[in-house]
Protein backbone atom coordinates (compact mmCIF):
# COMPACT_ATOMS: atom_id res chain seq x y z
CA UNK A 1 0.00 0.00 0.00
CA UNK A 2 1.18 3.50 -0.81
CA UNK A 3 2.05 5.79 2.04
CA UNK A 4 -0.99 7.59 3.43
CA UNK A 5 -1.26 11.34 2.90
CA UNK A 6 -1.09 11.96 6.64
CA UNK A 7 0.44 9.64 9.16
CA UNK A 8 0.43 10.86 12.76
CA UNK A 9 2.72 8.75 14.87
CA UNK A 10 2.88 8.67 18.66
CA UNK A 11 1.93 12.35 18.88
CA UNK A 12 2.34 14.02 22.27
CA UNK A 13 0.95 17.51 22.69
CA UNK A 14 1.41 18.82 26.20
CA UNK A 15 0.59 21.99 28.09
CA UNK A 16 2.47 23.71 30.89
CA UNK A 17 0.09 24.61 33.68
CA UNK A 18 0.39 25.71 37.31
CA UNK A 19 -0.53 22.17 38.26
CA UNK A 20 2.21 20.62 36.19
CA UNK A 21 2.38 19.22 32.67
CA UNK A 22 -1.06 18.46 31.22
CA UNK A 23 -0.65 15.67 28.69
CA UNK A 24 -3.68 16.52 26.57
CA UNK A 25 -2.57 14.31 23.69
CA UNK A 26 -0.41 11.46 24.86
CA UNK A 27 0.76 9.03 22.22
CA UNK A 28 -1.79 9.29 19.42
CA UNK A 29 -1.31 7.53 16.08
CA UNK A 30 -3.58 7.39 13.04
CA UNK A 31 -3.53 7.79 9.27
CA UNK A 32 -5.70 9.66 6.81
CA UNK A 33 -5.70 8.65 3.17
CA UNK A 34 -6.64 10.72 0.14
CA UNK A 35 -10.31 10.45 -0.72
CA UNK A 36 -11.14 8.99 2.69
CA UNK A 37 -12.59 10.32 5.93
CA UNK A 38 -11.12 9.48 9.31
CA UNK A 39 -13.25 10.39 12.34
CA UNK A 40 -11.68 11.15 15.69
CA UNK A 41 -14.54 10.64 18.12
CA UNK A 42 -14.64 11.19 21.86
CA UNK A 43 -16.10 13.28 24.65
CA UNK A 44 -15.10 16.72 25.98
CA UNK A 45 -11.51 16.89 27.07
CA UNK A 46 -10.36 13.66 25.40
CA UNK A 47 -7.80 15.55 23.29
CA UNK A 48 -9.43 15.24 19.88
CA UNK A 49 -9.38 18.97 19.07
CA UNK A 50 -5.80 19.40 20.28
CA UNK A 51 -4.83 16.47 18.06
CA UNK A 52 -6.44 18.28 15.12
CA UNK A 53 -4.67 21.56 15.94
CA UNK A 54 -1.34 19.76 16.22
CA UNK A 55 -1.35 18.69 12.56
CA UNK A 56 -0.90 22.22 11.12
CA UNK A 57 1.04 23.15 14.32
CA UNK A 58 -1.53 25.62 15.58
CA UNK A 59 -1.42 24.59 19.24
CA UNK A 60 -1.55 27.76 21.37
CA UNK A 61 1.99 28.65 22.42
CA UNK A 62 3.84 29.03 24.68
CA UNK A 63 1.67 27.00 27.07
CA UNK A 64 1.19 24.20 24.55
CA UNK A 65 3.94 22.37 22.76
CA UNK A 66 4.47 19.19 20.82
CA UNK A 67 6.56 17.03 23.11
CA UNK A 68 7.09 14.12 20.80
CA UNK A 69 6.02 12.02 17.88
CA UNK A 70 5.99 12.52 14.13
CA UNK A 71 3.49 14.09 11.75
CA UNK A 72 4.28 12.54 8.40
CA UNK A 73 2.87 14.44 5.43
CA UNK A 74 3.66 12.64 2.20
CA UNK A 75 6.33 10.91 4.29
CA UNK A 76 7.95 14.22 5.31
CA UNK A 77 7.96 14.91 9.06
CA UNK A 78 6.23 18.27 9.50
CA UNK A 79 7.64 18.62 13.00
CA UNK A 80 11.05 19.21 11.43
CA UNK A 81 9.71 22.29 9.70
CA UNK A 82 9.93 25.70 11.32
CA UNK A 83 6.73 27.56 12.10
CA UNK A 84 7.17 29.80 9.06
CA UNK A 85 8.02 26.89 6.81
CA UNK A 86 4.58 25.54 7.72
CA UNK A 87 2.86 28.62 6.25
CA UNK A 88 2.76 27.43 2.64
CA UNK A 89 0.94 24.32 3.85
CA UNK A 90 -1.60 25.99 6.12
CA UNK A 91 -4.73 27.05 4.30
CA UNK A 92 -3.38 25.78 1.01
CA UNK A 93 -2.74 22.07 1.35
CA UNK A 94 -4.22 21.69 4.83
CA UNK A 95 -7.44 23.62 5.45
CA UNK A 96 -9.47 23.75 8.65
CA UNK A 97 -13.05 24.54 9.54
CA UNK A 98 -14.35 24.93 13.09
CA UNK A 99 -17.55 24.64 15.05
CA UNK A 100 -18.51 28.29 15.25
CA UNK A 101 -18.10 30.00 11.88
CA UNK A 102 -18.95 33.39 13.39
CA UNK A 103 -15.73 33.45 15.38
CA UNK A 104 -13.67 32.26 12.40
CA UNK A 105 -14.88 35.03 10.08
CA UNK A 106 -13.81 38.66 10.21
CA UNK A 107 -16.91 40.60 11.28
CA UNK A 108 -15.88 43.86 9.57
CA UNK A 109 -14.98 42.53 6.12
CA UNK A 110 -17.39 41.42 3.43
CA UNK A 111 -17.60 37.75 2.53
CA UNK A 112 -16.21 38.63 -0.90
CA UNK A 113 -13.11 40.32 0.54
CA UNK A 114 -12.41 37.41 2.87
CA UNK A 115 -12.75 34.87 0.07
CA UNK A 116 -10.50 36.93 -2.20
CA UNK A 117 -7.92 37.07 0.53
CA UNK A 118 -8.07 33.30 0.89
CA UNK A 119 -7.30 32.77 -2.77
CA UNK A 120 -4.56 35.44 -3.02
CA UNK A 121 -2.68 34.91 0.22
CA UNK A 122 -0.77 32.02 -1.34
CA UNK A 123 0.10 34.04 -4.40
CA UNK A 124 -3.02 34.03 -6.59
CA UNK A 125 -3.86 37.09 -8.71
CA UNK A 126 -6.36 39.59 -7.30
CA UNK A 127 -8.06 39.95 -10.68
CA UNK A 128 -9.01 36.31 -10.81
CA UNK A 129 -9.90 36.26 -7.14
CA UNK A 130 -13.35 37.86 -7.42
CA UNK A 131 -14.43 35.39 -10.10
CA UNK A 132 -13.04 32.53 -8.05
CA UNK A 133 -14.92 33.75 -4.95
CA UNK A 134 -18.18 33.78 -6.88
CA UNK A 135 -17.49 30.31 -8.25
CA UNK A 136 -16.75 28.99 -4.75
CA UNK A 137 -19.94 30.40 -3.25
CA UNK A 138 -21.92 28.85 -6.08
CA UNK A 139 -20.18 25.55 -5.48
CA UNK A 140 -21.10 25.39 -1.79
CA UNK A 141 -24.75 25.87 -2.63
CA UNK A 142 -25.45 29.46 -1.59
CA UNK A 143 -28.59 30.59 -3.33
CA UNK A 144 -27.55 34.10 -4.31
CA UNK A 145 -23.74 34.06 -4.45
CA UNK A 146 -23.28 37.56 -5.90
CA UNK A 147 -25.40 39.07 -3.10
CA UNK A 148 -23.50 37.04 -0.49
CA UNK A 149 -20.19 38.44 -1.75
CA UNK A 150 -21.30 41.91 -0.63
CA UNK A 151 -22.66 40.78 2.73
CA UNK A 152 -21.03 40.76 6.17
CA UNK A 153 -20.92 37.63 8.37
CA UNK A 154 -23.65 38.84 10.75
CA UNK A 155 -26.09 39.06 7.86
CA UNK A 156 -25.88 35.31 7.24
CA UNK A 157 -27.46 32.39 9.07
CA UNK A 158 -25.26 29.83 10.84
CA UNK A 159 -25.64 27.35 7.99
CA UNK A 160 -24.74 29.99 5.37
CA UNK A 161 -21.70 31.04 7.41
CA UNK A 162 -20.48 27.45 7.58
CA UNK A 163 -20.92 27.17 3.79
CA UNK A 164 -18.79 30.31 3.43
CA UNK A 165 -16.12 28.76 5.69
CA UNK A 166 -16.13 25.64 3.53
CA UNK A 167 -15.82 27.80 0.40
CA UNK A 168 -12.86 29.57 1.97
CA UNK A 169 -11.25 26.29 3.02
CA UNK A 170 -11.60 24.99 -0.52
CA UNK A 171 -10.26 28.14 -2.17
CA UNK A 172 -6.83 26.58 -2.69
CA UNK A 173 -8.03 23.02 -3.34
CA UNK A 174 -6.54 21.54 -0.16
CA UNK A 175 -5.42 17.93 -0.03
CA UNK A 176 -6.58 17.60 3.58
CA UNK A 177 -9.62 19.18 5.22
CA UNK A 178 -9.65 19.14 9.01
CA UNK A 179 -13.23 19.67 10.21
CA UNK A 180 -13.55 20.20 13.96
CA UNK A 181 -17.20 19.72 15.01
CA UNK A 182 -18.29 21.50 11.81
CA UNK A 183 -22.02 21.07 12.41
CA UNK A 184 -22.37 21.11 16.20
CA UNK A 185 -23.80 24.64 16.25
CA UNK A 186 -26.30 23.96 13.45
CA UNK A 187 -29.83 22.61 13.23
CA UNK A 188 -30.09 18.92 12.29
CA UNK A 189 -31.52 19.70 8.87
CA UNK A 190 -28.70 22.16 8.13
CA UNK A 191 -26.19 19.69 9.59
CA UNK A 192 -27.32 17.07 7.09
CA UNK A 193 -26.84 19.52 4.20
CA UNK A 194 -23.35 20.56 5.33
CA UNK A 195 -22.17 16.95 5.82
CA UNK A 196 -23.55 16.00 2.42
CA UNK A 197 -21.75 19.00 0.88
CA UNK A 198 -18.39 18.03 2.42
CA UNK A 199 -18.82 14.44 1.18
CA UNK A 200 -19.71 15.65 -2.31
CA UNK A 201 -16.70 17.98 -2.50
CA UNK A 202 -14.50 15.17 -1.28
CA UNK A 203 -15.73 12.92 -4.10
CA UNK A 204 -14.96 15.67 -6.59
CA UNK A 205 -11.52 16.68 -5.36
CA UNK A 206 -10.27 13.48 -3.76
CA UNK A 207 -9.23 15.38 -0.63
CA UNK A 208 -8.70 13.57 2.65
CA UNK A 209 -10.95 14.56 5.56
CA UNK A 210 -10.08 14.42 9.25
CA UNK A 211 -13.39 14.84 11.08
CA UNK A 212 -13.44 15.68 14.77
CA UNK A 213 -16.79 14.95 16.41
CA UNK A 214 -18.51 13.77 19.56
CA UNK A 215 -21.51 12.51 17.61
CA UNK A 216 -21.58 8.79 16.74
CA UNK A 217 -24.47 9.42 14.33
CA UNK A 218 -22.27 11.71 12.25
CA UNK A 219 -19.49 9.13 12.29
CA UNK A 220 -21.90 6.48 10.99
CA UNK A 221 -23.05 8.79 8.22
CA UNK A 222 -19.77 10.03 6.80
CA UNK A 223 -16.63 8.33 8.14
CA UNK A 224 -14.69 5.49 6.50
CA UNK A 225 -12.43 4.88 9.48
CA UNK A 226 -12.83 5.74 13.15
CA UNK A 227 -10.45 6.34 16.02
CA UNK A 228 -12.10 6.51 19.44
CA UNK A 229 -10.28 8.74 21.91
CA UNK A 230 -10.34 8.65 25.68
CA UNK A 231 -8.11 10.55 28.10
CA UNK A 232 -5.54 11.71 25.55
CA UNK A 233 -5.16 8.37 23.81
CA UNK A 234 -6.80 6.37 21.07
CA UNK A 235 -8.45 3.32 22.61
CA UNK A 236 -10.03 1.73 19.55
CA UNK A 237 -9.50 1.96 15.83
CA UNK A 238 -11.62 0.35 13.14
CA UNK A 239 -13.39 0.77 9.83
CA UNK A 240 -16.73 2.46 10.54
CA UNK A 241 -18.94 -0.48 9.63
CA UNK A 242 -16.94 -2.87 11.82
CA UNK A 243 -16.97 -0.52 14.80
CA UNK A 244 -20.73 0.00 14.66
CA UNK A 245 -21.42 -3.69 14.12
CA UNK A 246 -19.35 -4.60 17.13
CA UNK A 247 -17.61 -2.05 19.33
CA UNK A 248 -14.95 -3.86 21.37
CA UNK A 249 -13.38 -1.42 23.84
CA UNK A 250 -15.40 -1.13 27.08
CA UNK A 251 -15.45 2.67 26.65
CA UNK A 252 -16.75 2.51 23.08
CA UNK A 253 -19.35 0.00 24.20
CA UNK A 254 -20.44 2.31 27.01
CA UNK A 255 -20.80 5.21 24.58
CA UNK A 256 -23.11 3.18 22.35
CA UNK A 257 -25.11 1.89 25.30
CA UNK A 258 -25.70 5.42 26.61
CA UNK A 259 -27.44 6.62 23.44
CA UNK A 260 -31.17 7.27 23.89
CA UNK A 261 -33.49 5.59 21.41
CA UNK A 262 -37.03 4.34 21.15
CA UNK A 263 -36.08 0.74 21.84
CA UNK A 264 -34.62 1.86 25.17
CA UNK A 265 -37.83 3.60 26.32
CA UNK A 266 -38.99 2.71 29.79
CA UNK A 267 -35.54 1.49 30.82
CA UNK A 268 -32.46 3.24 32.14
CA UNK A 269 -29.69 4.19 29.73
CA UNK A 270 -26.18 2.95 30.46
CA UNK A 271 -24.05 5.45 32.31
CA UNK A 272 -20.38 5.75 33.09
CA UNK A 273 -19.70 6.07 36.78
CA UNK A 274 -16.97 8.39 37.95
CA UNK A 275 -15.04 10.87 35.87
CA UNK A 276 -12.24 11.05 33.35
CA UNK A 277 -8.94 11.00 35.30
CA UNK A 278 -7.02 14.25 35.85
CA UNK A 279 -4.98 15.04 32.70
CA UNK A 280 -2.19 16.45 34.87
CA UNK A 281 -1.82 13.02 36.49
CA UNK A 282 -2.89 10.21 34.18
CA UNK A 283 -2.90 6.81 35.88
CA UNK A 284 0.00 4.56 34.95
CA UNK A 285 -2.21 1.70 33.78
CA UNK A 286 -5.34 1.69 31.66
CA UNK A 287 -6.89 5.17 31.84
CA UNK A 288 -10.40 3.78 31.62
CA UNK A 289 -9.90 1.09 34.28
CA UNK A 290 -11.40 3.09 37.14
CA UNK A 291 -14.76 3.28 35.32
CA UNK A 292 -14.60 -0.12 33.64
CA UNK A 293 -17.03 -2.90 34.54
CA UNK A 294 -14.61 -5.56 33.29
CA UNK A 295 -11.52 -4.36 35.14
CA UNK A 296 -8.85 -6.99 35.83
CA UNK A 297 -5.74 -6.90 38.02
CA UNK A 298 -3.54 -6.55 34.90
CA UNK A 299 -5.30 -3.28 34.03
CA UNK A 300 -2.94 -1.62 36.50
CA UNK A 301 -0.33 -1.87 33.72
CA UNK A 302 -0.60 0.14 30.52
CA UNK A 303 -2.75 -1.99 28.20
CA UNK A 304 -1.10 -3.21 24.98
CA UNK A 305 -2.71 -2.76 21.57
CA UNK A 306 -4.57 -5.92 20.62
CA UNK A 307 -4.97 -6.52 16.92
CA UNK A 308 -8.40 -7.89 16.02
CA UNK A 309 -8.04 -7.73 12.25
CA UNK A 310 -5.65 -6.16 9.75
CA UNK A 311 -7.38 -2.79 10.14
CA UNK A 312 -8.81 -3.15 13.65
CA UNK A 313 -7.17 -2.77 17.01
CA UNK A 314 -8.12 -2.04 20.56
CA UNK A 315 -6.15 -0.91 23.59
CA UNK A 316 -7.56 -3.40 26.10
CA UNK A 317 -6.47 -6.70 27.63
CA UNK A 318 -10.01 -8.03 27.46
CA UNK A 319 -11.81 -6.60 24.43
CA UNK A 320 -15.50 -7.39 24.79
CA UNK A 321 -17.69 -9.04 22.24
CA UNK A 322 -21.04 -7.84 23.54
CA UNK A 323 -22.39 -4.32 23.35
CA UNK A 324 -23.22 -4.08 19.66
CA UNK A 325 -25.72 -1.46 18.56
CA UNK A 326 -28.30 -3.83 17.11
Amino acid sequence: MANPLLHVEDLRTWFRSPRGIVKAVDGVSFTVESGRTRALVGESGCGKSITALSVPQLVPEPAGYIAGGRILWDSEDLLERTWSAMRPLRGREIAMIFQEPMTSLNPVATIGRQLEEASTVHGGAWRAARARALELLERVGLRDPSATLRQYPHELSGGMRQRVMIAMALANRPRLLIADEPTTALDVTVQAQILALIAELQRETGMAVLLITHDLGIVAEVADDVSVMYAGQIVEEAPTAALFAEPRHPYTQALFASLPSRSRRGGDLATLEGMVPDPAAWPAGCRFAERCARRLPECADAPPWRSLAADRRVRCVLPGVDGGTA
Partner: protein, 280 residues
Protein backbone atom coordinates in the same frame (compact mmCIF):
# COMPACT_ATOMS: atom_id res chain seq x y z
CA UNK B 1 -65.69 12.49 31.20
CA UNK B 2 -68.18 13.81 33.75
CA UNK B 3 -67.81 16.89 35.91
CA UNK B 4 -67.06 14.87 39.06
CA UNK B 5 -63.97 13.09 37.81
CA UNK B 6 -62.75 16.18 35.98
CA UNK B 7 -63.54 19.19 38.14
CA UNK B 8 -61.49 21.63 36.11
CA UNK B 9 -63.00 20.50 32.81
CA UNK B 10 -59.64 20.24 31.07
CA UNK B 11 -59.25 16.48 30.76
CA UNK B 12 -56.98 16.19 33.82
CA UNK B 13 -54.30 18.48 32.43
CA UNK B 14 -51.91 20.08 34.88
CA UNK B 15 -50.66 22.63 32.37
CA UNK B 16 -52.67 23.77 29.42
CA UNK B 17 -51.81 26.23 26.66
CA UNK B 18 -54.77 27.53 24.70
CA UNK B 19 -54.37 29.44 21.44
CA UNK B 20 -51.03 30.97 22.46
CA UNK B 21 -49.69 33.63 20.11
CA UNK B 22 -46.80 36.04 20.41
CA UNK B 23 -45.95 38.89 18.07
CA UNK B 24 -42.85 41.03 18.48
CA UNK B 25 -42.64 44.55 17.04
CA UNK B 26 -39.82 44.81 14.50
CA UNK B 27 -39.77 48.56 13.86
CA UNK B 28 -42.05 51.48 13.33
CA UNK B 29 -42.37 52.45 9.68
CA UNK B 30 -43.47 55.71 8.04
CA UNK B 31 -46.71 57.13 9.45
CA UNK B 32 -46.02 55.22 12.65
CA UNK B 33 -47.12 51.97 11.13
CA UNK B 34 -45.68 49.05 13.02
CA UNK B 35 -44.27 45.91 11.51
CA UNK B 36 -44.57 42.70 13.43
CA UNK B 37 -42.90 39.32 13.53
CA UNK B 38 -45.18 36.50 14.60
CA UNK B 39 -43.01 34.19 16.71
CA UNK B 40 -45.79 31.94 17.98
CA UNK B 41 -49.12 31.46 16.27
CA UNK B 42 -52.13 29.77 17.88
CA UNK B 43 -50.35 27.05 19.86
CA UNK B 44 -52.40 24.74 22.10
CA UNK B 45 -51.48 21.64 24.11
CA UNK B 46 -52.14 20.04 27.47
CA UNK B 47 -49.82 18.13 29.80
CA UNK B 48 -51.13 15.70 32.43
CA UNK B 49 -49.22 14.93 35.65
CA UNK B 50 -46.48 12.35 35.08
CA UNK B 51 -46.46 12.97 31.32
CA UNK B 52 -44.02 14.56 28.91
CA UNK B 53 -44.93 16.72 25.94
CA UNK B 54 -42.07 17.55 23.58
CA UNK B 55 -41.94 20.66 21.42
CA UNK B 56 -39.56 20.07 18.52
CA UNK B 57 -38.51 22.18 15.58
CA UNK B 58 -35.59 24.05 14.08
CA UNK B 59 -34.10 27.19 15.62
CA UNK B 60 -36.50 30.06 15.20
CA UNK B 61 -39.57 27.84 15.10
CA UNK B 62 -40.86 29.45 18.30
CA UNK B 63 -40.48 26.53 20.70
CA UNK B 64 -38.48 28.36 23.38
CA UNK B 65 -40.86 31.35 23.19
CA UNK B 66 -43.74 28.99 23.95
CA UNK B 67 -41.80 27.75 26.99
CA UNK B 68 -41.34 31.28 28.34
CA UNK B 69 -45.05 32.01 27.93
CA UNK B 70 -46.00 28.79 29.70
CA UNK B 71 -43.95 29.91 32.70
CA UNK B 72 -45.57 33.34 32.62
CA UNK B 73 -42.18 34.97 31.95
CA UNK B 74 -43.41 36.38 28.66
CA UNK B 75 -46.90 37.73 28.10
CA UNK B 76 -48.79 36.19 25.19
CA UNK B 77 -50.26 38.50 22.55
CA UNK B 78 -53.28 36.21 22.46
CA UNK B 79 -54.41 33.03 24.19
CA UNK B 80 -53.64 31.89 27.70
CA UNK B 81 -51.88 29.31 29.85
CA UNK B 82 -53.66 27.53 32.69
CA UNK B 83 -52.09 25.72 35.60
CA UNK B 84 -54.43 23.38 37.49
CA UNK B 85 -57.25 25.06 35.57
CA UNK B 86 -56.39 28.61 36.68
CA UNK B 87 -54.88 31.24 34.37
CA UNK B 88 -51.16 31.88 34.80
CA UNK B 89 -51.39 35.50 33.61
CA UNK B 90 -52.48 38.41 35.75
CA UNK B 91 -51.49 36.91 39.09
CA UNK B 92 -50.24 39.21 41.80
CA UNK B 93 -48.52 38.85 45.15
CA UNK B 94 -48.93 35.61 47.03
CA UNK B 95 -50.89 34.09 44.17
CA UNK B 96 -48.02 34.67 41.69
CA UNK B 97 -45.50 33.42 44.24
CA UNK B 98 -47.44 30.20 44.81
CA UNK B 99 -47.45 29.55 41.08
CA UNK B 100 -43.69 30.13 40.72
CA UNK B 101 -43.14 27.40 43.26
CA UNK B 102 -45.12 24.89 41.23
CA UNK B 103 -43.57 25.65 37.84
CA UNK B 104 -39.80 25.40 37.49
CA UNK B 105 -37.30 25.37 34.66
CA UNK B 106 -33.99 23.75 33.67
CA UNK B 107 -32.09 25.46 30.85
CA UNK B 108 -29.53 24.22 28.36
CA UNK B 109 -26.40 25.81 29.72
CA UNK B 110 -25.64 24.98 33.36
CA UNK B 111 -22.62 27.30 33.13
CA UNK B 112 -24.89 30.30 32.58
CA UNK B 113 -27.85 29.34 34.75
CA UNK B 114 -26.04 28.95 38.08
CA UNK B 115 -24.82 31.99 40.01
CA UNK B 116 -21.02 31.68 40.03
CA UNK B 117 -20.76 33.58 43.33
CA UNK B 118 -23.16 31.37 45.26
CA UNK B 119 -22.23 28.04 46.79
CA UNK B 120 -24.31 25.05 45.79
CA UNK B 121 -26.04 25.19 49.19
CA UNK B 122 -26.94 28.86 48.67
CA UNK B 123 -28.30 28.18 45.18
CA UNK B 124 -30.34 25.17 46.23
CA UNK B 125 -31.77 26.71 49.44
CA UNK B 126 -32.54 30.15 47.99
CA UNK B 127 -35.94 29.10 46.65
CA UNK B 128 -36.82 27.28 49.88
CA UNK B 129 -36.03 30.43 51.88
CA UNK B 130 -38.19 32.60 49.63
CA UNK B 131 -41.10 30.19 49.92
CA UNK B 132 -40.55 29.53 53.63
CA UNK B 133 -39.99 25.80 53.21
CA UNK B 134 -38.23 23.31 55.48
CA UNK B 135 -38.20 25.40 58.67
CA UNK B 136 -34.92 27.10 59.54
CA UNK B 137 -31.51 27.28 57.85
CA UNK B 138 -30.42 23.96 59.33
CA UNK B 139 -33.59 22.31 58.03
CA UNK B 140 -33.08 23.82 54.57
CA UNK B 141 -29.47 22.70 54.48
CA UNK B 142 -30.53 19.17 55.37
CA UNK B 143 -33.18 19.30 52.63
CA UNK B 144 -30.58 20.55 50.13
CA UNK B 145 -28.30 17.70 51.10
CA UNK B 146 -31.10 15.19 50.56
CA UNK B 147 -31.78 16.71 47.11
CA UNK B 148 -28.13 16.49 46.12
CA UNK B 149 -28.14 12.86 47.13
CA UNK B 150 -31.22 12.31 44.95
CA UNK B 151 -29.49 13.80 41.93
CA UNK B 152 -26.35 11.79 42.64
CA UNK B 153 -23.97 14.39 44.10
CA UNK B 154 -21.96 13.94 47.31
CA UNK B 155 -22.84 15.92 50.46
CA UNK B 156 -19.53 17.83 50.39
CA UNK B 157 -20.74 19.46 47.16
CA UNK B 158 -22.88 21.78 49.32
CA UNK B 159 -20.10 24.20 50.17
CA UNK B 160 -18.50 24.32 46.75
CA UNK B 161 -18.91 26.75 43.88
CA UNK B 162 -20.24 25.94 40.39
CA UNK B 163 -16.82 26.21 38.71
CA UNK B 164 -15.65 23.21 40.71
CA UNK B 165 -18.08 20.93 38.88
CA UNK B 166 -18.27 19.36 35.43
CA UNK B 167 -21.09 20.23 33.01
CA UNK B 168 -23.13 17.16 33.92
CA UNK B 169 -22.73 17.81 37.64
CA UNK B 170 -23.77 21.43 37.18
CA UNK B 171 -26.87 20.35 35.30
CA UNK B 172 -27.70 18.07 38.22
CA UNK B 173 -27.28 21.02 40.59
CA UNK B 174 -29.66 23.03 38.40
CA UNK B 175 -32.16 20.15 38.59
CA UNK B 176 -31.77 19.95 42.38
CA UNK B 177 -32.41 23.69 42.58
CA UNK B 178 -35.54 23.39 40.42
CA UNK B 179 -36.84 20.56 42.63
CA UNK B 180 -36.07 22.40 45.88
CA UNK B 181 -39.46 24.15 45.92
CA UNK B 182 -41.44 20.98 45.16
CA UNK B 183 -42.70 21.87 41.69
CA UNK B 184 -45.32 19.88 39.84
CA UNK B 185 -44.19 21.02 36.42
CA UNK B 186 -40.73 21.36 34.83
CA UNK B 187 -39.91 23.20 31.64
CA UNK B 188 -36.84 21.46 30.20
CA UNK B 189 -35.31 23.67 27.51
CA UNK B 190 -32.60 21.61 25.76
CA UNK B 191 -31.47 20.23 29.14
CA UNK B 192 -28.86 17.84 27.71
CA UNK B 193 -27.71 19.62 24.54
CA UNK B 194 -24.51 20.91 26.14
CA UNK B 195 -23.60 17.53 27.64
CA UNK B 196 -21.54 14.57 26.47
CA UNK B 197 -23.57 11.45 25.63
CA UNK B 198 -22.38 9.45 28.63
CA UNK B 199 -23.38 12.39 30.85
CA UNK B 200 -26.61 12.99 28.96
CA UNK B 201 -27.67 9.44 29.80
CA UNK B 202 -27.19 10.16 33.52
CA UNK B 203 -29.33 13.29 33.34
CA UNK B 204 -32.05 11.55 31.28
CA UNK B 205 -32.18 8.63 33.72
CA UNK B 206 -32.45 11.12 36.59
CA UNK B 207 -35.28 13.08 34.96
CA UNK B 208 -37.19 9.91 34.18
CA UNK B 209 -36.85 8.64 37.75
CA UNK B 210 -37.89 11.98 39.28
CA UNK B 211 -40.91 12.10 37.01
CA UNK B 212 -41.93 8.61 38.06
CA UNK B 213 -41.44 9.28 41.77
CA UNK B 214 -43.02 12.71 41.91
CA UNK B 215 -45.57 12.62 39.10
CA UNK B 216 -43.94 15.65 37.49
CA UNK B 217 -45.29 17.01 34.20
CA UNK B 218 -42.55 17.91 31.68
CA UNK B 219 -42.59 20.30 28.76
CA UNK B 220 -39.50 19.28 26.86
CA UNK B 221 -38.19 21.79 24.32
CA UNK B 222 -35.53 20.29 22.05
CA UNK B 223 -34.22 19.68 18.58
CA UNK B 224 -32.86 16.25 19.54
CA UNK B 225 -35.35 13.73 18.20
CA UNK B 226 -33.51 10.69 19.58
CA UNK B 227 -34.02 12.03 23.10
CA UNK B 228 -37.68 12.77 22.28
CA UNK B 229 -38.21 9.18 21.17
CA UNK B 230 -36.72 7.94 24.41
CA UNK B 231 -38.41 10.28 26.86
CA UNK B 232 -41.57 11.96 25.52
CA UNK B 233 -45.15 10.70 25.35
CA UNK B 234 -46.56 13.28 22.96
CA UNK B 235 -44.68 15.35 20.44
CA UNK B 236 -45.68 18.65 18.82
CA UNK B 237 -43.70 19.61 15.73
CA UNK B 238 -43.33 23.37 15.28
CA UNK B 239 -42.50 25.40 12.22
CA UNK B 240 -42.65 29.18 11.84
CA UNK B 241 -44.49 29.55 15.15
CA UNK B 242 -47.19 26.99 14.51
CA UNK B 243 -47.70 23.39 15.54
CA UNK B 244 -47.84 21.64 12.18
CA UNK B 245 -48.21 18.11 13.47
CA UNK B 246 -48.77 16.41 16.82
CA UNK B 247 -49.33 12.96 18.18
CA UNK B 248 -48.03 9.97 20.09
CA UNK B 249 -44.25 9.86 19.64
CA UNK B 250 -43.98 6.38 18.12
CA UNK B 251 -46.96 6.84 15.80
CA UNK B 252 -45.86 10.22 14.58
CA UNK B 253 -42.25 9.15 13.96
CA UNK B 254 -43.40 6.02 12.12
CA UNK B 255 -45.87 7.81 9.91
CA UNK B 256 -45.17 11.53 9.70
CA UNK B 257 -47.84 13.34 7.73
CA UNK B 258 -46.11 16.66 7.13
CA UNK B 259 -43.04 17.61 5.15
CA UNK B 260 -41.60 19.41 8.22
CA UNK B 261 -41.61 16.26 10.35
CA UNK B 262 -40.26 14.14 7.51
CA UNK B 263 -37.43 16.62 6.97
CA UNK B 264 -36.52 16.60 10.68
CA UNK B 265 -36.60 12.80 10.82
CA UNK B 266 -34.59 12.39 7.62
CA UNK B 267 -31.91 14.67 8.96
CA UNK B 268 -31.17 12.54 12.05
CA UNK B 269 -27.98 10.62 11.41
CA UNK B 270 -28.72 6.91 11.58
CA UNK B 271 -26.44 4.72 13.63
CA UNK B 272 -26.22 2.20 10.85
CA UNK B 273 -23.29 2.86 8.49
CA UNK B 274 -24.85 0.56 5.89
CA UNK B 275 -27.93 2.80 5.75
CA UNK B 276 -26.14 6.11 5.37
CA UNK B 277 -27.96 8.75 3.41
CA UNK B 278 -25.67 11.77 3.58
CA UNK B 279 -22.84 10.01 1.83
CA UNK B 280 -23.23 7.29 -0.75
Amino acid sequence: MNALSDPTGNGGALVEARGLSKRFPLRTGVLGRREWRTAVDDVSFAIAPGRTVALVGESGSGKSTVGLMVLGLLEPTAGDVRFEGEPVAGRRGADAKALRRRMQVVFQDPFASLNARMTVAESVTEGMRIHGLNGDEAGRRAAAQALLEQVGLPAHALDRYPHEFSGGQRQRIAIARALSVEPRFLLLDEPTSALDVSVQSQVLNLLRRLQRERGLAFLFVTHNLAVVEYLADTVCVMEAGRIVERGDVAELFDAPSTETTRRLLDAIPSLDPSARRLRA
